[in-house]
């Protein structure tokens, strides 16, 4: 049997490896996507005080520490049965909007966007942020840098640090906002709304105005009819910080909404001995392997999923864009993975609008930052939407609030099965009876990956170039026949 190994590079060998096996006829027999790393947070957090979890679990991921910080703080609230003060909740959410603003900007301009702005056929060397700047103009580069800086400033102002914030605790936060800081944030937020609108306009002009791209987005190769997940508020509008988790089936029918504490009624994880990561799926639908459709419990949790699982956006401008999104793409749900890039920009606009709403809330400069817990701690679940998927922290403690057990279902992990499926589909469409595996395969796999924004993509933007993907083709004896390589951002899943 012929075997093709795709090493999404170095981090690869640390973080993700794809094996494609061909059968006698030269067609794809199977593909395996391995995550070769584990650190063991669910074990070594046991024994730690629950109020430290926002700081300890930050260290799961340096790309989205804010998401872990929030999920851990909310799980801590739940463990103590304490409701944070109203101002504290708003301050946490405000920090989180600053984070989303930076993260979504980075992804669109440095990773997902260049494929479209430059065109998927443009030379790899041009498909990066510098290429975008050359094509669209120098001014845009300055705007992108400004957008990232503003988001970082909000995070640092409220979280204390640019990476690994430290201010959320059970019952509230330790840091409030002065009027001067509030004004600064409001100003940045208003600029952010303009920037997000500008970004959406850019997408319309360059992508939706081009029939070739529209075909590409709507084509079958990047389509999977899976279930979708995303957190919503009481009006079923997308919410990143709080609410219930909505699940819709591949026909767009809502199967239900669960409160964080009920996640085990909905989610199970499939375990395989050949990878360090588990495959989450919908428990009541069941694990049917790497396959889509109504009978398969595989679900996706991304910006596209959040839009699919909701009834709209909570802010006016983002709502207009939401409607335009579904009008253009033929109604809900949208199954085409490449539409995720557009969905991400709708969310970018929401983040900016929500940031301004919060920054102009009269309570935001309140000094009522913290409610001291009074109940005996026991067990609690905290859920937020990380940019790369619904993030669940579940803690059990003794009566002193010392952790006795921890369960984490982390961002990109939700998408482990769908990513595996996308890889297989791309491989199958490119490798057929004696078809030469060529750079096209790498391109297709790369674009399939990018739609999910597997973690770490966002770090690659500052320098030109992205991660290479390497495909090694071996014959039956295991000798290397050929090596192809191509830049890709790595398939680093949120490993615990």
């Amino acid at each position: 049997m012929e075997r093709i190994t795709i090493d999404p590079i170095t981090r690869l060998e640390g973080h993700g490896k794809i094996d494609i096996f061909l059968n006698e006829e030269g067609d794809v027999a199977n593909t395996y996507f391995q995550i070769p790393e584990l650190r063991g947070f669910e074990r070594f957090c046991v024994g730690r005080p629950v109020e430290e979890m926002p700081v300890l679990t930050n260290r799961i991921c340096g790309v989205c520490p804010e998401a872990h910080h929030m999920a851990a703080a909310k799980a801590g609230d739940a463990v103590y049965g304490v409701e944070p003060t109203s101002a504290a909740k708003k301050l946490r959410e405000l920090l989180y909007m600053g984070f989303y603003f930076t993260d979504h900007t980075t992804h669109f301009y440095a990773l997902g966007g260049p494929d479209f702005v430059m065109g998927p056929d443009a030379p790899v060397a041009q498909r990066n942020i510098l290429g975008v700047i050359h094509k669209v103009g120098l001014e845009i580069g300055g705007k992108v840098i400004q957008a990232r800086k503003y988001g970082h400033t909000v995070v640092e102002m409220l979280g204390g640090r640019k990476v690994h914030p430290c201010t959320s605790i059970p019952g509230g936060v330790t840091k409030g906002l002065t009027e001067a800081e509030r004004q600064e944030i409001e100003k940045m937020g208003r600029w952010g709304i303009e920037f997000a609108q500008f970004s959406l306009q850019l997408f319309s002009d360059l992508v939706m105005g081009n029939p070739y791209y529209v075909d590409l987005i709507l084509g079958d190769i990047y389509t999977h009819k899976t279930h979708y997940m995303g957190m919503v508020d009481e009006n079923n509008h997308v919410n990143f910080y709080d609410g219930k988790v909505s699940i819709v089936d591949p026909d767009g029918k809502r199967l239900g909404k669960y409160a964080p504490a009920d996640y085990t009624d909905w989610i199970a994880e499939h375990v395989e001995p050949w990878t360090y990561l588990k495959f989450p799926y919908l428990k009541n639908v069941g694990w049917k392997g790497f396959t889509d459709g109504n009978d398969s419990g595989v679900y996706m949790a991304t910006p596209l999923s959040r839009l699919n699982a909701s009834d709209g956006m909570a802010t006016p401008l983002a709502q207009e864009r939401y409607e335009q999104f579904y009008d253009t793409l033929g109604g809900k749900p949208v199954h085409q993975r490449l539409a995720t890039h557009w969905a991400r920009l709708v969310e970018l606009l929401y983040a900016a609008e929500r940031l301004v709403e919060l920054a102009t809330d009269e309570e935001i400069t309140s000094d009522k930052l913290h409610n001291v817990p009074t109940q005996t701690p026991t067990e609690g679940v905290g859920i937020v939407e990380a940019p790369r998927g619904t993030l669940t922290h579940h803690y059990w403690t003794d009566e002193r609030g010392i952790l006795t057990k921890v369960n984490l279902i982390v961002g990109t992990t939700n998408n482990y099965a769908p990513i595996t499926m996308s890889i297989k589909k791309a491989a199958k469409s490119l490798i057929k009876k004696g078809t030469v595996v060529n750079e096209g395969l790498l391109n297709m796999v790369e674009m399939a990956f990018r739609a999910y924004d597997p973690c770490f993509g966002c770090a690659t933007h500052s320098l030109p170039g992205q991660m290479p993907l390497q495909v090694t083709i071996r014959n039956n004896e295991g000798e290397v026949m050929d090596v192809l390589s191509q830049y890709v951002h790595p398939a680093f899943l949120c490993e615990r």
């Binding site: 640390g14 096996f21 024994g47 991921c61 085990t264 001995p273 050949w274 001291v372």
Partner: protein, 326 residues
């Protein structure tokens, strides 16, 4: 072009925050680009293990290595980069002292696996990752998960240490400036084994909070404190702050926003045992001379292992528990 000295950066078992911190240095990145050939930096450019293996020994001038040594793959890369680099910097808390993931050294490998794979949401219990596994189509392999986390200097010889989780960007910028000055003959490298990108004192020395040499009769956990005094030293409010034992360099960021120092910059200069140093500092604020009373007050510290070795267990004298190594 190729006469420029070569620069490399690598991540072993890490969260990626160190890479983000480097990318956050902004326009200084251009100085790196102007003065170095970036020979290997997976987060930022095309590179393969094979390319590194083919480089002549000592051909990379400067390698920043972040992440702990959790599995065999990490250890292999540490050895390879040591061999290829003239200057190897242990970059960030994971590489330097094990960081939070080093707390896994209090547990056995099986305990780590059981927590991960036999969780409440797992659909099948008892499945463990197999280092070599036969699927119908062939054999799949995974790197071996070692019994304990090791720091970089427990695996290879290290030239410099740069603490912080992650190192703050202004400190990274200062180190880059220094290295560039050295390249131009305008400065000299510090002695081998030095800590760079940090101070020689403690976080307390950088902290803006006021100390009154006030004594306490009780430790309070952060969430139990109704209102944190914005100006008074946290320790003197009974909040356990790791500032007195921790190396300065960050600018005392956490106490500035009402959170105690967690200790991410590691042991202060010349501190052999971080836990012992912190214990001494903590004991000194206790308002009692009665050993029994002191013990009672210290009992308020609910997680001594986590408090005194939160970031540095893997590099401490303790290193790992018996359970972990058995």
């Amino acid at each position: 072009m190729s006469e420029k000295p070569k620069f490399a950066m690598y991540w072993a078992a890490s969260c990626g925050g160190c890479e983000i911190a480097v990318l956050n240095i902004g326009e200084k990145i251009l100085d790196v680009d102007a003065n170095f050939d970036v020979a290997f930096w997976p987060v930022a450019m095309d590179a393969k293990y094979k390319d590194v293996e083919e480089m002549p020994d000592k051909s990379i001038l400067l390698t920043l290595f972040n992440g702990g040594i959790r599995n065999e793959e990490n250890a292999h890369m540490a050895k390879l980069l040591r061999q290829k680099s003239q200057i190897l910097v242990s970059f960030g808390s994971c590489a330097t002292e094990g960081c939070v993931p080093g707390l896994a050294n209090l547990s056995s490998r099986e305990e780590v696996f059981a927590a991960a794979y036999d969780s409440i949401t797992s659909d099948t219990l008892g499945i463990r990752p197999q280092y070599s596994y036969e699927v119908p189509e062939g054999t799949l392999t995974l790197p071996i998960f070692n019994t304990i986390v090791r720091t970089l200097d427990q695996v290879v010889d290290v030239d410099y240490y740069m603490p912080g989780c992650p190192p703050e960007s202004h400190q990274i910028g200062a180190v880059i400036d220094l290295v560039i000055q050295v390249l131009h003959g305008q400065a000299e490298l510090p002695p081998k084994g030095s800590v760079i990108g940090a101070g020689g004192s403690t976080v307390c020395d950088e902290c803006g909070r006021i100390r009154n040499v006030k004594k306490i009769t009780k430790f309070r956990r952060l969430h139990e404190v109704a209102e944190i005094d914005p100006v008074l030293c946290l320790l003197e409010q009974g909040i356990l702050c790791n500032g007195p034992a921790t190396r300065d360099g960050c600018g005392a960021l956490c106490p500035a926003v009402g959170a105690p120092c967690a200790g991410c910059y590691g042991p202060a200069q010349d501190v052999v045992d971080y836990g012992a140093r912190l214990m001494t500092a903590v004991s000194s604020v206790i308002d009692s001379n009665d050993p029994k009373e002191i013990d009672r007050i210290l009992d308020d510290i609910v997680d001594p292992a986590g408090t005194f070795y939160r970031f540095n267990l893997a590099h401490s004298l303790l290193h790992a528990s018996k359970t972990a190594v058995s």
